[in-house]
């Protein structure tokens, strides 16, 4: 398994990286840890003209407090994210979900930014970004812009980034107090992709749920936000109520049929797992 030849660029600044990306044209790929891209390269399913390796952009590994939000550098590794005190305090759902990503070897090389930019609907973190209303910070030689997660994932492994744009960071709004979180991942073996995953955060008020964020992994060509559940679960306080709210989890989704599960089965799983995720998040 040897990749086809490509030009290899390893910039040492974000500006250089953007320039390299702009120069390389449409058939360039960005290497940000490589835990998804390397297999595609080796299988020659990806045959880029140029590979721009962000490994030297240490500045993009930073996770910083930015007032109401955290800014997680695109090159922060999964391992770094799940251990980071800021993330654990202000975005515990992200820390939890990241702990379930693949295996330790992958978590040490793979990056949050890489995972989000790859936009694999079976990946765990796109759904988390969606649930947390994260904002993706992208930069190119033309400037910087911010894209809300709700507008970032546009189709199967496809984002609204331009070919010359680089994801440099992810702005994650801090979750105030009173939130409970859970990532319910359903998979057959430890390092397998989720057949279905549910990212869930709920804020309780007395006995009931006041506010909920629910997003689903692998229930369609993109991660999907289960808005109907978020509405239906308001005020719910019992497992039965969670089940009732979760019954709508698959509404409007187009789950795939593949070797690991049919569309029909995923539809069923989404409801069961969403109920469980809500209950676990409420705690």
């Amino acid at each position: 398994m040897i990749p086809a030849t490509f030009d290899y660029v390893r910039p040492t600044s974000v500006d250089d990286a953007c320039r390299a990306l702009a120069d390389a044209g449409e058939d360039a790929k960005v290497l940000a840890g490589g835990q998804s891209l390397m297999p595609l390269l080796r299988m020659r399913l990806a045959i880029p003209d140029a590979l721009i390796d962000l490994d030297r952009l240490d500045g993009l590994r930073e996770i910083r407090d930015d007032g109401d939000s955290l800014v997680i550098g695109a090159m922060a590794t999964h391992h770094q994210v799940m251990r980071d005190p800021l993330v654990r305090e202000h975005a515990p759902l992200l820390a939890r979900a990241t702990e379930t990503v693949a295996d330790p070897a992958v978590r040490h090389r793979g990056t949050f930014g890489g995972s989000v930019a790859h936009a694999d609907p079976a990946g765990d973190l796109p759904a988390v970004a969606l649930a947390l209303d994260a904002v993706l910070v992208v930069r190119s030689v033309r400037g910087e812009r911010e894209i809300p997660a709700s507008e970032f994932f546009v189709d199967w492994m496809t984002t609204s980034m331009e070919p010359d744009e680089l994801l440099v960071g992810v702005r994650v709004p801090k979750m105030g107090s009173g939130w409970g979180v859970h990532y319910e991942k359903f998979h057959r073996t430890a390092q397998a992709w989720a057949i279905v995953g549910v990212a869930c955060a709920v804020r309780r008020n007395g006995d009931g749920v006041e506010e909920a964020r629910v997003a689903l992994t692998n229930m369609g060509p993109t991660p999907v936000r289960a808005h109907s559940v978020e509405v239906a679960v308001r005020g719910a306080g019992s497992e039965d109520a969670f089940r009732t709210a979760a019954a709508q989890a698959a509404a409007g989704t187009e789950p795939p049929t593949d070797l690991h599960g049919s569309s029909e089965y995923r539809t069923h799983l989404a409801t069961v797992l969403t109920a469980r995720a809500l209950a676990a998040a409420v705690g």
């Binding site: 398994m1 040897i2 030849t5 297999p39 359903f186 073996t189 070797l259």
Partner: protein, 799 residues
């Protein structure tokens, strides 16, 4: 003082180098001037090759040569099948590289030889092959229907053979039987996934060739390469250096090995090829893939009257080394440990446009054990008996050994009662049954099931006479040699070559004990036809039960010879000498004596040897067993089944195995653990899946699921020890036991958990969706049969 080596849980001395990889894996070796081969493989399941243009590839930088199948047609021969199971078996030609037609995805069509691997792989893109697609033949049952598309037009059928074995009067057994159960089980296709991929390096020297290969069978491979290529056997040396696992997949003569030899001859330079994982998933021979139709007749008290077995076995596109014989190895095992009056076994081998099948850990016996152990649970459920009780009413009792089974084998020894009793205790069977009832009563969404598997297997392949009677192409003996060097150090040569089993440790332990030398003084040599000149290699849990016994015997011969020399040196009569702790002394006179090392030096110097004794202290022995060995055991599995999602979680797994005498308990435990993982994997995870067009969709480990430690429970293993009587060491073999026993234990547990839902089968692998669907199918009233007394229907929840 020497410690007792045999029986001691010594850590394996080979592991440091194997685990770190700082060793002679074939792909680690690159002699100067080595050229690299890359194969172009068919993307089609079935197609006629109408043209191959290799010219553009030849122009690529670094490329030395490019060959299509046609270019090598005159010399590549046909890959061998050494097991012609019936006189009229259909046996198609199998060119190492396809010439006219491709019949499975991944079949080699052309190859590039280049100065480096990347150049070879790049040049593959430039080879242009024109195919005329033909119909894929994917489904076995459809393949044998009238008017089916043919895999091999010239054979005019997709049936390779039908093989029958019958004993007892089955009609009488079935007639008026109070209970008749019919079931259909599918043994899914599996991909043996050895840690080390296949790799071959061929180094030419004049008209002689040294072929290094990640193979289980250096000796058989040499003979077969000579036969296929007509290069004389004595001009070929085959080396199996350290080999990282095989599970049967490297018990094969692969086209890539033949091509490497031919290219080394053509080009006069070393050539090497190492497969990628996804290449391997497509082209390493696959395992299992049977459809089993089982009919069991029994009395109402649970005693079995007779068993009818009707198999379809998927051969894939071609017959490889022992392809047709694999399902037949199970023929004698469908009766398991049970007594019955009649057995009928029919197997039809079927060609499909899929990767050829062949030996995979257990080879025939897991399939048989699965069927009978599933049936025993079905019988118990049918009669409302505990599954242990049904088995107890049928199994051979320990005082009945030796026992001739309905399949015509003589089980020499065993104690099923003891193994079962121990397993039940370790498992806390009654406590778990109580929890099961409790969960059922509470209608807990997570149900608990208990699966039983009381298995035996035939190991120690094999008595040569028996193999002859089954038309197998070779014998089943094994060879060992012992050389005591002048310094007293010992070299052991074994014809059984390890590919992960730990021979270097176990063989040294046996030798150390027999010769009374320190463990560290023993070096085990194997896997090189120039060093080990004869051998039948490693498969079928045969190493210890055949090769180990040959070593035992060779050690005895050394001691016998040393005794003669020592007697001469001590001026005593042989019969007056005793040999303890590596030292000969006159009985009752401990002070005077000669160590084996001293004797060895004397034998080397040969200054003063008794008449008729040849210099040097060494020996050769072969052992050809007169019977198989029959390890057995009782495995119990507790599974939690989430009825809302179908997810299965193994809660507890107890394996009590009886493998006879044990040389190294740590190695035995390791074999059982690995075997369990592999058997559980068949039950829950692994399946090679082809789509309707014959594409293999499980070419990567993202789709072909191999469980890791994170997915498995902590196993409880223990042993009983009933020595085999068929060999002087009392050993039986353990390489396949865990795999054979565990698959039915797991599926029985899942089905047991779901019986209240009307489920009486879940097809393997029992993925969460399949479990969920089985429940749904049975929850619908229309789908389950109205309580027919004779049986619960045949198809179960199978989708």
């Amino acid at each position: 003082m020497t410690v007792q080596e045999v029986g001691s849980p010594r850590k394996r001395s080979e592991d440091a180098r194997l685990i770190t990889g700082r060793t002679r894996w074939t792909d680690n070796m690159t002699p100067a001037g080595t050229l690299h081969i890359a194969f172009l493989r068919s993307p089609h399941a079935h197609a006629r090759i109408t043209g191959v243009d290799t010219a553009p590839a030849k122009d690529r930088p670094g490329v030395v040569a490019v060959f299509s199948g046609r270019d090598l047609a005159a010399e590549q021969g046909s890959l061998p099948c050494a097991w012609v199971v019936t006189d009229d078996m259909k046996h198609p030609d199998h060119p190492p590289m396809a010439v006219e037609e491709v019949r499975y995805v991944g079949e080699p069509v052309a190859c590039v030889v280049a100065r480096d691997k990347a150049a070879a792989v790049d040049a593959l893109e430039e080879i242009d092959v024109d195919y005329e697609p033909m119909s894929a033949v994917v489904d076995m049952e459809a393949a044998i229907a009238d008017g089916a598309d043919l895999v091999h037009d010239d054979l005019e059928t997709n049936k390779s053979y039908t093989w029958v074995f019958e004993n007892g009067d089955l009609d009488a057994a079935m007639r008026d039987a109070p209970v008749v159960l019919e079931r259909r089980y599918v043994q899914q296709r599996l991909i043996p996934t050895a840690m080390e991929p296949r790799s071959v390096l061929c180094v030419p020297e004049g008209d002689e060739y040294t072929l290094y290969s990640a193979t289980q069978i250096p000796h058989i491979l040499r003979l077969m390469l000579a036969t296929v290529t007509e290069i004389p056997e004595h001009r070929i040396r085959v080396v199996a250096p350290d080999v990282g696992g095989g599970f049967g997949s490297k018990l094969q003569v692969y086209g890539e090995e033949v091509i490497a030899l031919l290219l080394a001859r053509r080009l006069g330079r070393p050539v090497k090829w190492t497969e990628t994982r996804s290449e391997g998933n497509m082209t390493v021979h696959h395992g299992r893939d049977q459809i089993q139709r089982i009919t069991l007749a029994a009395e109402r008290d649970g005693r079995i009257r007779g068993l009818k077995v009707d198999l379809l076995a998927d051969m894939g596109a071609y017959l490889m080394l022992v392809t047709p014989g694999i399902p037949l190895l199970g023929a004698f095992m469908f009766n398991g440990i049970y007594k019955m009056d009649a057995l009928s076994f029919t197997c039809t081998g079927v060609f499909t446009t899929k990767t050829p099948t062949d030996a995979y850990r257990g080879a025939g016996r897991p399939e048989a054990t699965y069927a009978i152990e599933r049936m025993m649970d079905e019988l118990a459920a049918e009669l409302g008996l505990d599954p242990i009780e049904v088995r107890r009413r049928n199994w051979i009792e320990h005082e009945e050994f030796p026992y001739e089974t309905i399949a015509g084998l003589t089980y020499d020894s065993g104690n099923y009662e003891a193994a079962t009793a121990k397993a039940l205790e370790l498992f806390e069977y009654d406590k778990l049954r109580a929890e099961q009832s409790d969960r059922r009563e509470r209608q807990d969404p997570v149900q608990l099931g208990i699966g039983v598997s009381t298995f035996t297997e035939m190991c120690g392949l094999a008595p040569s006479r028996v193999l002859g009677s089954l038309s197998y192409g070779a014998g089943g003996w094994e060879h060992a040699a012992v050389r005591v060097l002048p310094s007293g150090k010992v070299e052991v040569v074994t014809g059984s070559s390890a590919h992960g089993q730990g021979h270097e440790t176990a063989w040294a332990q046996i030798t150390a004990d027999r010769l009374g030398v320190p463990f560290e003084d023993v070096k085990v040599l194997h896997g090189d036809t120039a060093i080990s000149h004869k051998g039948m290699d490693t498969y079928g849990s045969r190493s210890l039960a055949v090769g180990g016994v040959a070593l035992f015997s060779a050690c005895e011969k050394v001691v016998d010879k040393a005794r003669k020399v020592a007697a001469h040196l001590l001026e005593a009569a042989e019969q007056d000498l005793e040999f303890t702790g590596g030292r000969f002394s006159v009985r009752g006179v401990q002070e005077e004596g000669r160590t084996l090392q001293e004797v060895a030096l004397a034998a080397f110097a040969a200054h003063d040897l008794p008449d008729g004794i040849e210099p040097s202290l060494d020996s050769d022995a072969t052992f050809d067993p007169d019977n198989f060995s029959f390890p057995h055991g009782t495995h119990l599995c507790a599974a939690e089944v989430d009825t809302e999602t179908g997810m299965v979680k193994l809660r507890k797994y107890v394996a009590v195995d009886d493998v006879g005498k044990v040389v190294n308990p740590l190695i035995v435990e390791g074999q059982v653990h690995g075997g369990l993982a592999q058997g559980i994997a068949q039950a829950l995870y692994e399946e090679a899946v082809y789509d309707a067009d014959g594409n293999l969709t499980t070419t990567t480990m993202a789709d072909y699921l191999i469980p890791s430690a994170a997915d498995l429970p902590s196993f409880t293993t223990d042993r009983t020890e009933t020595p085999a009587t068929s060999n002087p060491m009392g050993v039986k073999g353990v390489g396949e036991a865990g795999t054979i026993a565990s698959t039915p234990a797991v599926v029985n547990a899942i089905v047991d958990a779901l019986r209240p839902h009307g489920v009486h089968d879940v097809p393997m692998p029992c993925s969460p969706e399949r479990v969920w669907r089985a429940m749904r199918a049975e929850d619908k009233p229309a789908a389950s049969e109205p309580g027919a007394g004779g049986g619960l229907g045949s198809a179960g929840g199978a989708q």
